[in-house]
Symmetry: C2
Subunit: 140 residues, 2 copies
DNA sequence: TCTCAACCTTCACATGGGGGTAAGGTCAAG
DNA sequence: CTTGACCTTACCCCCATGTGAAGGTTGAGA
């Protein structure tokens, strides 16, 4: 199987398949005489696993951990669960930030008339903001 | 005022101040004989505006638009509102993706025993996933 | 056999929003 | 005159890709 076949079967791009190889997420497959990468079904399964994990937002590093656990018959499911729970916490933190941004922004939008007049509460509140709900949190 | 004073007053780093200049978000300030950037209160106000907008998650490009509108006395608040609403939609889209990821991940976690046994529903569902709720949406 | 499209390869650079570090110039106090 | 805290530019790093260049390979048809 050439790289495009694998890409089609996994829903990844050719570039992503090469990228995952270059960062060590998958092993370098054997090459044909012309230097083409030659993939097996096993590679396809692994890349599909990666694609699914990316869909869930796992980082490359986390997927590396998951792949190690996947191929280790002596793993404890506790370890897998720990990686997933860590990621869930990260998702939750991002969600909280987004919620905070959204509520502030929505409030500001509701205060802007949105007409032909230059007066705008959004701009005003961006000038002098701290009294209006900014907490000094980290940027996203 | 030197760059560190501005950074302290706006909560930005020196790097960020220079960065915003290099990408054209703010004008290059005059320099002292030694080449030090010399800032005025006006620059501080502008950078504080930028910092607040970043807190709300606006992109550099969007902030550029907001700054143009800010300094245009003939603006319509409608235009400002449009930028903010566009951004709100983007935040909402990100939120939906996060929610989707979170719910799938939380469900998978709940199905993993998390003990010493190698059997793990998380790994299983990452192998063969489409029947378990994946929609083929874009990655985040 | 020649050609052409559709593959494949590597390399380098872009994105966003900066962080880190280096190598050097400058300023003010002691 | 030294020391330390400034300042400058310039480079590479992160993440997870996308884009494009420049070139080699393969297979099918004319």
């Amino acid at each position: 199987m050439n790289i495009s076949d694998v890409a089609r079967r996994t829903g990844l791009s050719n570039k992503m398949v090469r990228h995952y190889e270059s960062v060590g997420l998958i092993q370098s497959p054997p090459r044909s005489a012309a230097g083409y990468r030659q993939y097996s079904q096993r590679n396809v399964d692994e890349l599909a696993f990666i694609a699914h994990a990316r869909t869930l937002g796992f980082s490359i590093a986390q997927i590396g951990d998951l792949l190690s656990l996947r191929q280790d018959p002596h793993r404890a499911s506790r370890e897998v669960k720990a990686v997933a729970q860590q990621h869930l916490q990260e998702l939750d933190a991002r969600m909280q930030q987004l919620k905070h941004m959204k509520s502030l922004l929505a409030e500001m939008i509701s205060q802007c008339p949105g007409d032909d007049d230059p007066h705008c509460a959004i701009l005003q509140r961006l000038e002098t903001s701290d009294s209006n709900g900014f907490t000094g949190d980290n940027l996203s």
